[in-house]
């Protein structure tokens, strides 16, 4: 019969310093089309993101999940900063009847005793789950910002069109990953 057990490894031993730095902050840049004056567009984007669950903080517009991972959007730089809330310890689950797990346990125990980071290949393997976690947060928040941008572009185009003449018809379509707004105006 086999049973599994876990070892709690301090995060600074489980993951390399450079990796921890990477997952503390991952940045994604966005571009803002200035259909209307930049300040108006930024104001529209801000209120759209606030309506989509972002909150205003000192660092910018922020959203977080149940793990405490955050995505902060800076309107001045149009940059999204995704950051993981790292635990103090990383939990590793091992099975007692597996040779490879026994070997891993002895390496980890030695590293904890001598307070040195785990070998690169092991730490890289453990890092995968954090990389997946930061990817998920980044993709979810990127999706929200892209949707917000899409919505404000549509609103801005309508405002702009109204300045040019009488709005007769508006239609939207999506194909091949492209979103189109078709507006007809009468002068």
């Amino acid at each position: 019969m086999s049973h599994s057990y876990r070892i709690s490894v301090p995060i600074n031993i489980a993951l390399s310093e450079s990796f921890r730095e990477k997952i503390k902050s991952y940045k994604i840049d966005f571009t803002l089309l200035e259909i209307l004056p930049k300040d108006t567009m930024l104001e529209m984007l801000k209120s759209k993101l606030l309506s989509k669950g972002f909150k205003e903080t000192e660092k910018g517009l922020e959203t977080s999940d149940y793990l405490g991972d955050t995505a902060t959007f800076n309107l001045d730089t149009m940059q999204l900063n995704v950051s993981l809330n790292l635990p103090k310890n990383h939990e590793i689950y091992l099975v007692d009847d597996s040779n490879s797990d026994k070997m891993l346990e002895s390496i980890i125990s030695n590293c904890i005793k001598s307070e040195v980071p785990l070998p690169v290949d092991i730490s890289r393997n453990l890092g995968k789950e954090y990389a997946k976690r930061i990817t998920k947060v980044a993709i979810e928040s990127k999706k929200i910002i892209n949707n917000a941008l899409k919505e404000i572009y549509k609103e801005a185009v309508i405002i702009k069109a109204k300045e040019l003449g009488n709005l007769v018809n508006i239609s939207e379509s999506e194909s091949g990953g492209n979103y189109r707004v078709h507006i007809e105006i009468q002068n």
Binding site: F19, K22, I23, Y26, G127, A131, T135, I139, S175, G177
Partner: protein, 290 residues
Amino acid sequence: MKISVYPEDVLFEYTKSLLQREYFVHPEKKYIKRFPQYIEFSSEFAEKWQNLISSSVKAYLGKLFLNKKFLTEKNGTIKSYTLADKEIWDDLDFTFTHRSAERLYEKMLENEVQTYKIFPGQHLIATVSDSLFISICLKNFEIYHFPWIVKNNANWLIKAVYITKASNWGSVIPKWAYLLENYKENEFPLRELLIEKLAAYLADASESLSSSYENNSRVEKNVKEVYNLFNKALTGWKEECPVGYEDEKYLDSIIASNKIIELYNHFINNLEFARQTRDSATEIFNAIME
């Protein structure tokens, strides 16, 4: 003490409990283990059985297709009927036999005694009408497969029940796709039902993609295959086996009201969006891991 237990009476009560969706409780249930493997039914039982089938199948169909309008061809024109209209029943053939009693008797024994079947498919022997009654009783519409149902010349209403009850997950090829492949076998009401089923299928397929960063190639392949089958069937319905005057017009309006083209385009867009999301996720993951 001497008691007399009649297996066919117990079977009758068992079937009634199945139809009422109730747990089977019977004072003589404990004797089922000692029942013979096969029995011959009495003529009194046969009459009672036919009455039970007739009332329960009618009630089931009435409930399933309450207010459902079927477009059917009568004298070269297409008209809309509900099951309350007498005309709709004119061309429908139902042949209920003692087979359903035999199959349900086996099922009853199976539940009480561990039985071993020499021929595993033997328990399926029935007419298509019987299969409908058995499926209703067992609340399982996947025991009998579409190729068997079609081969045994089920009337369109029986096929309509099986299409309506067929599972419709957007990630796999649905069982009813067999009817699209064999489009010549589809009477007009079935064409409408298949279009409705396709609409629900495409909507579910889009849903199954939206939250996934996984590789969607299997879903893409399945949905495209089903959509191609539908287009082939549609061409066949219009060109090879039209039903009545102007049925093309009706088909086009059913397709439009079910938004088939929009739903398919929506699926393709979602697929592209999921692909972009997956690429983007891979890029972020690789950047972190490098």
